[in-house]
Structure formats: structure tokens, C-alpha cells
Subunit: 192 residues, 2 copies
Amino acid sequence: MVDMGRWQPDALGRLERAAFELYAQRGYEQTTVTEIAERAGVTERTFFRYFADKREVLFSGSSHLVDIAVEAVSEAPASMAPIDAVGAALEAGARVLQLDREHATRRQLLIDANPSLQERELLKMTTLSTAIAGALRDRGVGSAYAEIAAAAGSALFAISFRRWISPGESRDYPQIVRDSLLELKTVAAGRS
Amino acid sequence: MVDMGRWQPDALGRLERAAFELYAQRGYEQTTVTEIAERAGVTERTFFRYFADKREVLFSGSSHLVDIAVEAVSEAPASMAPIDAVGAALEAGARVLQLDREHATRRQLLIDANPSLQERELLKMTTLSTAIAGALRDRGVGSAYAEIAAAAGSALFAISFRRWISPGESRDYPQIVRDSLLELKTVAAGRS
């Protein structure tokens, strides 16, 4: 654990808020770590205690998301089909993101506008898919099936996310994940 | 059509070969357009007739791949299930890439080693997925099903590609695509 000191409570939260404000106001590329630290009222050294660079501020929740997904696969009943264990993992992830739709939306707009962020987001999704495939193999699912189920699940998670943040969408994110999984099962069964 | 002139037959092919040689020898980042043109025996101006920049040399076949996939979906029998029309599109694409496994492998090694190429590769896969979804909608497939089928198909195409170029794999690329599609259908049906 990092000792934040009494004089700077919630430095992490303040840095994240400051970064998002600056990215929205000046653009991601134009914002510097110096400016983020200044707005958050901390030193640059404090910034680097939490983040490797300004890009990582947008990905601080990624490893948490992966942990939650892996845990959901591991804790799914042994009798549950692999694809439904993947569904449970995606739903668990969706429940976390669901907590702040506005934040998730603003984050996605930033990513869409910056190629270097898209590359990092791609790595995040690959990491998620690889972790879910590993958790499936730990349940005894064959390697090829685990890889396919996890990759299809990741694609579905990304599509569901886009649907969730699109204007006019009224369903919550976990519900969209459930609906999309049903659509995947339907098309894969040769129907639509 | 570009007039290549009698004095520089197959400038395109020579530029591609020169670029791949230099990327392999010096690294992608270190290679300049000037060097590529020089090795190919053409002017820089000729390079820019064919490619917007040195990155695009690696993606010259992308639009052809998309065309082939879309055509396969469009020409699939009306009675064919959407997922199998996607399978036909991926197989058609695999048959083209199949023509030169060594080239495909070297290209992938370059992409894996360079983040800016990964980003472009991601765009290529998104473009492919979007085009296949559009071709499915043109067949009357509902928008949500078309999106899910195309995204699952793209994920499957990428996984199949990795399997195809991995050492020890003996199946050809179209066969791996067929096998992977069967695996997707199996896991989506709750089996594995």
C-alpha cells in the first residue's frame, strides 16, 4: 500500500478527476502530467506513484475488471456450460462498469478520438480474453474451446458496451450482455 | 489506373518486397520510405503513388480481403444461415491468405513487434467485421444478429490465423476456419 499522508486524502481519485477534466477540456494529446498533478493539487511524484503515464489513468480499472471476470468463471457451478460461465464473467464486469455510465461514456469518447488509446484498449480486451480462457481451462475446458468461447465473449462484451452507451438505449449493461449472449447462441445455432 | 511506364515493370511488387526485406533487416521503425524506394529502384514519388506511408505497405491487401468476404456473403444461397454465410466469407478470405503462408507469418511478426501496426491491424479487423455485418443486413438479417455474427466471425478469423501460422500446425487456413466455426457452434450450444 502507498502511504498517501493525511495532507492529501484521495490523491488517486483527485488525479483521475483532474485528468478526465483536462482531457475533455484541452484534448488528451495536449494534456501533460504536470498539468494533471497541478490541478489535483499533488506533486508529479505523487502522480507517478499511481500511474506509469497519462495513458494509464484511463486504464486504472482494467486489472480489477479482469480479476472480477476470472473470479466469476472460477465460482460458476461446475455444471454450468463454458459459454454461460463466460456470460457470468461478462455480466460481473458489466455490473462494475454499470456504476458510472457517464464516466464510461466519456472514457470511450476519449479512446475513440486517440489512436494510442485504442491500441491500449485493444491490449486490455486481449488480456481479458486470455484471462477468461485461462479460467475456463482451469475448469477443465479444452484449450481450443476455451479460446473460442473467451474470444467470442470479449467481442460480445465490446458490442454490448457500445449498445449500452448509445443514445436511446434503456436497458442496463448486464441486461444487454445477457441479450447479446442469447443473440450469439441464436445465430450460432443457425437461426436469427 | 496508374501508368507505370515500361521502364519500371511491377513497381508495386518490387516496393512490397523491398519494404519487407528492410523491415526484417533493420526493423520497421528504422526503415524510411527513401530507403524502400531506393532498394526497389524507383523514386519516392513512385512509392507515394501506391502507398500513403510505409505502414500501408503492410495493409495493401486489406480492401481486397474485405471485398472477397462481402462477395462471399452476398453470393451465399438465400437459404444459408447467417453464421454459415459468415463462415463462407472467412473461408474465402482464408483461401487468399493461404497462398503465401511465409509472407503472412513475417507480416504478423512485424505487427506483433510494433504497436502502431497493431492499431492499424485492429482497424482492418473492425472494417472487415463492419463490412460483413452490412452484407448480412443486405440479406435481411436483423441488425443486432448481423453485428454479433460478424464480430464473432472476425474473432474466429483472427484466432484461426494464429493457429495457422503456429509451428507444428498441419491444417490449411480454410480448414482451420471451418474447424473453429464448428467449435464456436459447439460452445454456443452449451457443449465443449
